[in-house]
């Protein structure tokens, strides 16, 4: 039992990391407090539902298509809507709240409020040293690790990735160096939304879908960013793992609800006593 909760915790942790990394990308490069990030996560899940269950494609192709479509949606939203609120915090909050309402209602109108289900792409368990590990969860972890690794390679080893880092540190300086900030913004938005959609799709393969599943993802994403430190990628990874494992362990020892309560308490305390997070700057 314990190992299953730990595996769940690890899996949750990686999902949180995907969401948080996406949110960090949008926050530090596009410059927007994207409160509708959870809705992109939700749309990722529903896209896979439509491609996989309705259209009949296999899970992994559906996953890839969904990630790509979500990325495109992100570019569209950034270019025609969010860019206006780049350094306008109040405006960004209000417009992304409007976006939450629009996206949620659109999905409710199209798919209804009832729970939907994506059949599991992998069944069965792996038995290691007497522990029964569900393949579903292992796959989720592996895919997440793959995606995060791809992102890290992109950021560290490509010129575009480095340009993104430059923009996140100082947008004007980056522009002066000849970096096309608008294009980098679009790319960051594409990646950020893709990660969120991937997280949603992977979660959707295991748990039920509802149009309102985004709020949970947003809260966890913000919690991870706070824990790990604003703008820090290693922070998001470490923070996500810690939060996920805490969730898993506390659920094992106490209950799911206590896990949420303790998680929230930890975040509140961090905000009060170390607001820059574990790895953030002052």
């Amino acid at each position: 039992m314990l190992e299953q909760n730990l595996l769940n915790g690890l899996m949750s942790g990686w999902i949180y990391i995907l969401v948080a990394l996406g949110l960090t990308l949008v926050l530090s490069i596009v410059g927007i407090v994207q409160l509708a990030h959870g809705e992109i996560y939700m749309i990722g899940a529903y896209l896979v539902y439509y491609f996989c269950v309705i259209a009949g494609f296999r899970f992994f192709p559906s996953l890839l298509i969904s990630i790509f479509c979500a990325g495109l949606l992100g570019i569209f939203l950034e270019r025609f809507f969010l860019r206006a609120f780049r350094d306008d915090v109040e405006g960004a909050i209000i417009s992304t709240i409007a976006l939450i309402l629009i996206l949620q209602t659109a999905i409710v109108a199209i798919a209804g409020v009832g729970y939907k289900n994506i059949p599991s792409p992998i069944q069965g368990v792996l038995i290691v040293l007497g522990a029964r590990l569900s393949w579903e969860r292992l796959m989720t972890i592996l895919v997440s690790i793959a995606l995060v690794s791809a992102l890290l390679i992109f950021i560290n080893k490509t010129r575009m990735g480095q340009a993104m880092v430059a923009v996140s540190e100082d947008r004007e300086a980056a522009a002066l160096q000849g970096i096309n900030v608008d294009r980098i913004s679009s790319i960051a938005m594409f990646l950020g939304c893709s990660l969120a959609a991937a997280a949603g799709a992977l979660t959707g393969a295991i748990f039920d879908l509802t149009p309102f599943m985004g709020g949970f993802a947003l809260m966890k994403g913000i919690a991870v960013i706070i824990l790990g430190g604003l703008g820090s990628i290693p922070g998001a990874i470490i923070g996500g793992l810690i939060l996920g494992l805490v969730d898993g362990l506390v659920t094992a020892l106490l209950s799911v609800q206590m896990a949420s309560i303790i998680g929230l308490l930890v975040i509140i305390l961090i905000l009060l006593f170390r607001p820059q997070g574990l790895l953030g700057h002052e």
Binding site: I97, L101, T105, M258, I268, L272
Partner: protein, 325 residues
């Protein structure tokens, strides 16, 4: 008195008269209900704006409302107090909790403060869901008694068995709340809040305890949120944690922003308009969030300062047109 002022005084007096005499002409419970909820939302939005005058955007309002919404019924049902005693106590409970957490919270700036208030609302909701012994858990509390009857022999017999009685209670609550908030805001205290909002560094340098004032604004705003919650729970006679999630905090924020954050009348107008929308869109309830979103976008793109700034904006446009003539 100038003609303009006379006109203003007459129209306000007329409006007041209409509001007070309304239940004589309108007795449909449904309409009274909408008006009562309007009152609740006016207090919600105005108290949130009060906190915003000190530069803090709080998303904890839903949590603070829920504290009052639970405190009053629990004291009435478990300890037998009269509503008229528990009502102010509910407000005080929210205020005290706001004061206690306000100090560590007030040190946080801007978006960090808002985030921590968001998490606080979730935290309070989770506690309400888990502490079954106290709050009834996810199912909440039902059978909350109406406010104790007010009986003055041969003069008054208010038993709160009809919506009309609640209408007048809400009306008085709104008037008292707005009077107090306005009085504070138009005093030196209010000016000090505004100075902190604009530059707390400058305010500190001339002797203003910016943290203390922020806690003060937060506590007072939360006091009225608690009162609102207490009224709400005795009016609806049943409450559950689900009603007090961060969506309620967001709605309060939207009422404030759509109406206009910078003027006292802003949240009032915002609350009135946005309470009416769900009622008018009864026919297409699933699309109600679209309407909300649409209004939000209109405001944010065209009328940044909110609906209350419409007259000024129109004036400017008209002046510009005529100066070109």
């Amino acid at each position: 008195m100038s003609k303009k002022k006379l006109l203003k005084l007459l129209s306000y007096s007329f409006l007041t008269l209409v509001i007070f005499l309304l239940p004589l002409f309108i007795r449909q419970p449904y309409i009274l209900h909408v008006l009562i909820m309007m009152g609740v939302n006016i207090i919600l939005a105005s108290s949130l704006r009060f906190i915003a005058t000190s530069g803090q955007f709080s998303l904890a309002h839903a949590g603070m409302v829920s504290i009052g919404a639970y405190a009053s019924p629990l004291l009435v049902m478990k300890q037998g107090f009269s509503f008229w005693v528990t009502f102010p106590i509910a407000g005080a409970t929210s205020m005290i909790i706001a004061c206690l957490i306000g100090y560590p919270f007030a040190r946080l700036k801007g978006i960090y403060f808002t985030m921590v208030t968001l998490f606080l609302t979730e935290f309070i909701k989770l506690i309400a869901e888990q502490w079954r012994g106290l709050t009834g858990g996810v199912y909440g509390i039902t059978g909350i008694p109406r406010p104790n009857a007010i009986i003055i022999p041969e003069l008054l017999n208010v038993s709160f068995s009809s919506k009309v009685d609640f209408y007048y209670l809400a009306l008085i609550m709104v008037i008292v709340t707005l009077l107090i908030l306005y009085a504070i805001e138009s005093s030196r205290i209010g000016m000090t809040f505004l100075s902190i909002q604009q530059s707390d560094l400058l305010a500190e340098s001339v002797g203003v305890n910016s943290t203390g004032f922020r806690v003060l604004a937060f506590s007072i705003g939360c006091f009225f949120a608690g009162l609102d919650g207490a009224f709400y729970s005795h009016y609806l006679s049943a409450i559950a944690p689900g009603s007090f999630g961060f969506l309620l905090s967001i709605y309060a924020f939207i009422y404030m922003v759509v109406g206009g954050r910078r003027k006292f009348s802003g949240p009032i107008i915002g609350a009135i308009i946005l309470t009416l929308i769900p009622e008018l869109s009864r026919g297409f309830k699933e699309y109600e969030p679209f309407v909300f979103a649409g209004i939000l976008l209109l405001v944010i793109l065209l009328l940044r300062e909110g609906v209350v700034s419409l007259p000024e904006r129109l004036n400017k446009i008209i002046k510009r047109r005529f100066s070109h003539a």
